[in-house]
């Protein structure tokens, strides 16, 4: 009998077809039933193999018929063993059991879980199992021992809690609805349809049922690391992160670190998209920095210890000369976003050493350096903004010692619409409080801590920036954003507020594509129409938000106070040089020092170079900057988290 079972007949394939049909409750029976059939030729072949040469057709047919019947019977019996073992799959062991109960010796050597290969020979119409010989000596001498599968254990999980899928257990977590929601939202976000993106993000900001999906969305945002070539997608992911942060129903808790890591990545790392100078990765960094500020402000950070780690992480990048300039830029905008205190404590002390380094990039006029030089100008612009923030904060706090406290307690300012100084408090407010200096004393606190008096600081900064600083700071206006936003960001008022930290960068970007603008912009601007007050800045950007901002700044008691503080303004106006020359400002934006009056040639040269650069995307000088993106990333992030 067992000979029959591993016979050379085309039996096993049909055997399996019966197996499947036998296990199905209702097999479709179209016409002839398919069962194992053993042809009499097989019987003859078998008889020969065991030494019986003469078998008549009749005999072999009868034997074949009976073998078929026995086989089917055994197969049905084996299905019973499968059922009682509570399995869906028939095993060779089931079949062997059925054989044993029929008092037939079982088949040996077919108990492997892997399917046997049943194939025909090349020359004859003969089918057989590929049953290779195994050298037991080799097998025994094998140095690789099979892995111990471990002790059989029982693990308890919650599958359902009070009728609700728990998810953490062995079940797929999500209901059909949620999965669909996740699917649609992610598809919308990563797709190109503006309208869909807006809708999806708006829903993410407000939907209270997203919490079950939070880990998945956080993971999605974490994908920034794998798509750093695609600025558009990066922006979308950051927007997703922003929406999650803004959703009042979500507790980010354990996921915050992951989100911050993703955002920091966008701020600091030399993205693949940065290689092409046409890519405006600067805007992305700015946006990410604003987002970082927003996360800090959202209040869930204090427990995490991130508040202290973030400035340190940014500092570490800044002081590392091996980092590319775009990383430095990111560090600077990041610090600016974190507020004046971060600028003062981290950026300002570094400036003395960093400035010459930056300078060396900017002054190298070789063609191969063009791109790096342009980058350096960016960094300079960012530092300038940071300096402006710093000085204006000082200006306000010293001109109006109550400004901060009044702001802290000012209820008429929505927390979602803080302006720059609010921002400062929001970010490091708890530090100020912890040092026992509420409102009125904050000025004193500053003086205690930072031995640098404002005049000293100003002159320090002035030595770096020259008149461009005076242009920004000396108008006596509070630090108010010259604002402008990309369409994809303007859906959210909070973005405006956050973006206020980097006026120069934003203006610059408004005039972008970078560099090229300056060539066209070389004409002196009609300044007569431009008031030199804070409104002037707004007017240049125009639009709905501008008017709103203007309104708010008018209403702001702080701004009024600021204007009432002539003493500080005087200091600035004294050192203010040719403040009404717009072209100078433009040149500052181009990164030129004001002292060098050759504005036009410089700008033109820049334009020329940038055109060249466009043809040569890889700038030779880059090599000198030893960037090891992957390597650098790890320690900085590691430190952060």
């Amino acid at each position: 009998m067992q000979n029959m079972n591993d016979s050379h007949a085309p039996l096993p394939s049909q055997q399996s077809s019966e197996t499947t049909s036998a296990s199905g409750a209702s097999a479709s029976t179209s016409g002839e039933r398919k069962f194992a059939q053993i042809p009499k030729e097989s019987v003859k072949a078998h008889a020969e193999s065991i030494g019986i040469s003469e078998v008549s057709d009749d005999v072999s047919a009868m034997v074949a018929e009976d073998a078929c019947y026995r086989l089917r019977e055994v197969m049905q019996a084996s299905c019973q063993f499968m059922r009682h073992a509570k399995r869906k799959r028939l095993t060779a062991e089931d079949f062997n059991r059925a054989l044993r109960w029929s008092n037939v010796e079982p088949m040996y050597g077919h108990n492997s879980p892997d399917p046997m290969v049943f194939r025909p020979t090349k020359d004859a119409e003969l089918y057989f199992y590929e049953d290779r010989e195994i050298n037991l000596t080799e097998f025994a001498m094998e140095t690789i021992l099979p892995r111990n599968p471990g002790e059989t254990t029982v693990k308890a999980q919650w599958l359902v809690v009070e009728g609700r899928d728990k998810g953490a257990g062995s079940s797929p977590a999500l209901s059909e609805e949620l999965v669909q929601y996740y699917d649609q939202v992610t598809r919308a976000i990563l797709g190109g349809n503006e309208q869909l993106i807006k809708t999806a993000l708006a829903d993410l900001r407000t939907n209270s049922r997203v919490s079950a999906l939070l880990p998945y969305f956080v993971y999605l945002v974490g994908e920034v690391k794998s798509i750093s070539h695609d600025l558009e997608a990066l922006t979308r992911l950051l927007q997703t992160a922003q929406a999650l942060i803004q959703n009042p129903h979500l507790y980010l808790g354990p996921y915050l670190k992951q989100l911050v890591a993703s955002v920091m990545y966008c701020i600091l790392e030399p993205l693949a998209a940065s290689i092409n100078p046409l890519n405006d990765h600067w805007a992305l960094r700015d946006y990410a920095a604003r987002l970082l500020a927003q996360i800090c402000r959202s209040g869930c950070m204090s427990v995490e210890g991130l508040q202290k780690q973030l400035p340190l992480a940014l500092q570490k990048v800044l002081v590392d000369p091996a980092r590319p300039l775009c990383s430095h830029y990111g560090a600077v905008v990041g610090l600016t976003a974190l507020g004046s205190k971060a600028v003062e404590e981290v950026l300002y002390p570094q400036l003395g050493t960093y400035w010459p380094f930056l300078q060396s990039w900017m002054e190298d006029r070789t063609i191969s350096n063009a791109q790096a030089k342009a980058d350096a100008h960016r960094v300079q612009g960012a530092i300038l903004s940071a300096a402006e923030l710093l000085l204006k904060t000082y200006q306000q706090s010293s001109s109006d010692p109550h400004a901060e406290s009044s702001h802290e307690s000012s209820p008429n300012q929505s927390p979602h619409h803080p302006d720059a100084s609010d921002f400062t408090i929001g970010t490091f407010g708890h530090l100020l409080e912890s040092s026992g200096t509420a409102g009125p004393n904050s000025g004193g606190h500053r003086r205690d801590k930072g031995p640098v008096p404002i005049t000293q600081m100003y002159s320090d900064l002035y030595s770096f920036f020259g008149d461009s600083l005076a242009v920004r700071v000396g108008n006596g206006a509070p630090f108010v954003p010259a604002k402008e936003d990309e369409s994809d960001q303007d859906v959210e008022p909070i973005i405006e507020a956050g973006s206020s930290a980097f006026p120069s960068v934003q203006v610059e970007r408004a005039d972008l594509p970078p560099m090229l603008t300056f060539a066209g912009n070389g004409q002196p601007i009609d300044l007569s129409s431009m008031p030199s007050t804070s409104e002037a800045t707004h007017t240049t950007t125009g639009g709905r938000r501008t008017s709103k901002r203007r309104q708010s700044s008018k209403e702001s008691p702080k701004s009024k106070r600021a204007r009432r503080a002539p003493s500080m303004s005087d200091i600035f106006s004294l050192s203010r040089a040719s403040q009404r020359r717009r072209d100078i400002v433009v040149n500052i934006r181009g990164g030129r020092q004001v002292g060098k009056k050759k504005t036009k040639p410089g700008a033109l040269l820049g334009a020329e170079l940038s055109r060249l650069c466009r043809r040569v995307p890889f700038v030779g000088k880059r090599k000198k900057v030893k960037t090891l993106p992957g390597k650098v990333l790890q320690p900085s992030m590691g430190m952060l988290l």
Partner: protein
């Protein structure tokens, strides 16, 4: 595997005798006239009559052999249903087989079948569905006659032509049937034995029966007539013919429906009142201790005086079955479990249970059985490699007893002697039990959690001590794979059932069974002890569920309706309702009081292997190898029938119209649900082995 039927036919015959004789009486009472008219004595000369002796008491046989045999049976025929009516020494088997010998024109079977089929098709819609049930048994017996008379070619043709027309649920048997192609193969085939030794039961309204009779009169199909007479039992009732749904609800069993008189006996399904327990309640008990029927205990405790006096009218007298005396430990446990029950979460369609799932990881072999102790503190898994492993689900680790010399030194009178007997050094999370030599198909803890029963493919049931983790007794008797074993709720007794088609009742201290429950036409696949210990429910691969009286071993309920093997059963806590499920993926709910089908719950996509009622009986949980747990609102069914407890329509199964009862469906990642169990507090525990890939 083919052999058990030999012995079984013997027992089957003896058991059938009562049923068949009862049936004969039934036929004579109602359709007697028709039968007489239909059976012209001149046509009664077939040897086939030898196999259905009860019919032939008044007929004389021409065949000498048959007459001889009849003579041997004669006293039995006169007696009521004596145990001596067993047929079948192996010589007689061929004799019974010869019942298929036919002189008729076998080639015309196709024509006959066609004629019958078209008659049914053309009959009134009212009768069509009842008459339609005729086709399958007629088809089977025609095929067997063809095969037996060596018309293999015609048989093959006949089979291929008409097998497709049979209902889906018959296809499994038809597959078995189709393997039988020669006369020789008919011998020793389980299913063939069943078909020829038992009658296929059909229930039919009188109107439908009359129309069938007219048809048979018009068409003188002698062969058809003899098949109807010899192999079919038509149970005629007065009333409205059943519609398609009603017919389908109860059809599907291997040998047709249950006879009406099979479910007439009164079943004492109530729960006896608890004995008074005067155990002081310790407040510092630390454990989940438990026994059975917490609901009732709760009532008892709540209304100690009121409820306790009023006995359940449906409850059996406490002394009906001798039950083991309650020990102090048992009483304490009852109290503790009652206390646990007080903390129970009420469940219902608004309050679904929490499910805690125990996944077996790193199992080298497939897990073929899982058992959970009544108090949910222990779990036993049986593996296909013959091992049994016991885990503790509570913080209490599992310890063995100290060795004899250490035990000897203990102070036997100490209060905490049981605790002292245990050896702390041996504490472990699990214990492995070796002993079986085949896959372990079921495990059952004793109520006191001191013993464990396991049944295996090796044909034995083993009793293990959970104090020493060693084998105490091997119960041999089934000789074929034992599919299920279960302790009685009171301990001491247990029931096992297996491939030999017999369910056996044992006492743990006896090596031979106390009762044998014989009557299933195929393997006894699952067993569930009634909460009051007086009855045992068994499910079988003959697609019926039967209820047995432990007192006298009688079959008191036969319930048909499953379309494939039944693999799991569950009693409602009040003992009145029984749920069953299996390979046909449907859960059926039965009212034991009348043996009627109450509801059908569809939704699973693979065989169901576990059922469990919540502790208060309001919801039912089912789980299977489709990796899902489904929760059903059985309370709705109970409410529905409480309103209309109309007993007149018992002849016709009328399903309660309840719409979908499904309350929830919860999927595991890749773990089949082999066991479900509600804790005293109504936490649902599930268990299975994680399946790779």
């Amino acid at each position: 595997m083919a052999d058990p039927n030999r012995t079984v036919v013997v027992t089957d015959g003896s058991n059938d005798a009562s049923a068949v004789s009862g049936a004969a009486a039934g036929v004579q009472s109602s359709p007697k006239g028709e039968k007489g008219a239909g059976t012209d004595p001149s046509k009664m000369d077939q040897q086939t009559l030898a196999a259905v002796l009860q019919f032939l008491k008044n007929n004389k046989l021409r065949d000498a052999e048959a007459a001889l045999r009849r003579e041997a049976k004669l006293p039995d025929g006169n007696g009521d249903s004596g145990g001596s009516s067993r047929v079948a020494t192996s010589g007689e088997v061929s004799l019974v087989l010869s019942a298929y010998e036919s002189e008729g024109d076998l080639a015309r079977y196709c024509e006959y079948y066609n004629s019958l089929s078209s008659f049914i098709e053309s009959s009134l819609d009212a009768h069509k569905h009842e008459l339609g049930c005729l086709l399958y048994p007629v088809f089977i017996h025609m095929y067997l006659q063809l095969v037996y008379n060596r018309h293999e070619k015609e048989a093959h043709k006949f089979f291929n032509r008409f097998s497709v027309e049979q209902e889906d649920w018959h296809q499994e048997d038809l597959r078995t049937l189709s393997t039988v192609k020669t006369r020789e193969q008919m011998e020793g085939n389980d299913l063939m034995d069943t078909f020829r030794s038992s009658k296929f039961v059909l229930r039919m309204s009188r109107d439908s029966y009359q129309s069938l009779r007219r048809y048979l009169k018009q068409n003188e199909h002698r062969e058809l007539l003899s098949i109807l007479q010899d192999h079919l039992f038509i149970d005629v009732f007065d009333g409205v013919p059943r519609n398609r749904e009603q017919v389908q609800a109860t059809s599907g069993a291997m040998m047709g429906e249950a006879r009406r008189d099979a479910n007439k006996v009164k079943v004492l399904y109530g729960l006896p009142k608890e004995p008074d327990i005067n155990v002081p309640l310790d407040d510092d008990d630390e454990g989940v201790e438990g026994e059975d029927k917490p609901k009732k205990k709760k009532q008892k405790k709540d209304l100690l005086l009121n409820k306790n006096k009023k006995a359940d009218p449906n409850a059996p007298p406490p002394s009906r079955i001798p039950l083991p005396e309650l020990k102090d430990a048992d009483k304490l446990e009852k109290v503790l479990s009652w206390k646990e029950g007080l903390k129970r979460v009420p469940l219902g369609r608004e309050n679904l249970p929490s499910i805690c799932f125990y996944t077996l990881a790193n199992a080298y072999q497939n897990v073929s059985a899982v058992g959970v102790s009544e108090d949910s503190s222990l779990l036993a898994a049986g593996f296909e490699d013959s091992n049994v492993r016991v885990w503790s689900l509570s913080p209490q680790r599992l310890r063995t007893m100290r060795n004899a010399s250490e035990l000897d030194q203990l102070d036997k009178e100490a209060d905490d002697i049981v605790e002292r007997m245990m050896d702390e050094k041996t504490a472990a999370d699990s214990w492995l039990l070796h002993g079986h030599t085949g896959p372990v198909y079921s495990t059952s803890f004793s109520p006191d959690r001191e013993q464990l029963l396991t049944s295996s493919e090796d044909g034995t049931v083993r009793l293990w001590s959970l104090h020493t983790y060693s084998n105490l007794v091997v119960y041999k008797g089934h000789n074929y794979p034992v599919w299920d074993v279960q302790f009685s709720p009171t301990g001491y007794y247990f029931v096992s059932g297996g491939h030999d088609r017999v369910a056996r009742l044992w006492g743990t201290d006896q090596f031979q069974p106390i009762r044998m429950f014989v009557g299933h036409y195929s393997d006894v696949t699952c067993i569930q002890y009634h909460p009051n210990s007086n009855y045992v429910a068994t499910g079988s691969s003959d697609r019926t569920v039967r209820l047995w009286d432990v007192l006298n071993g009688n079959c008191v309920r036969v319930m048909t309706g499953h379309k494939a093997a039944v693999h799991t059963l569950a009693w409602s806590p009040d003992g009145r309702y029984l749920a069953s499920a299996g390979v046909d993926k449907n859960v059926l709910l039965w009212d034991i009081a009348y043996g009627r089908l109450l509801a059908e719950m569809k939704g699973h996509t693979d065989p169901i292997y576990s059922l469990c009622f919540s502790r208060e009986g309001s919801i039912l949980a089912s789980g299977g190898i489709d990796n899902t747990v489904k929760i059903w609102d059985v309370q709705k069914v109970f409410e529905e029938i409480a309103g209309s407890d109309d007993l007149t329509s018992l002849d016709r199964a009328s399903l309660v119209e309840v719409g979908s009862l499904l309350l929830g469906s919860f999927q595991t990642k890749a773990t089949p649900v082999l066991k479900l169990h509600f804790s005293h507090r109504n936490l649902l525990l599930g268990c299975g082995r994680y399946q790779h890939s």
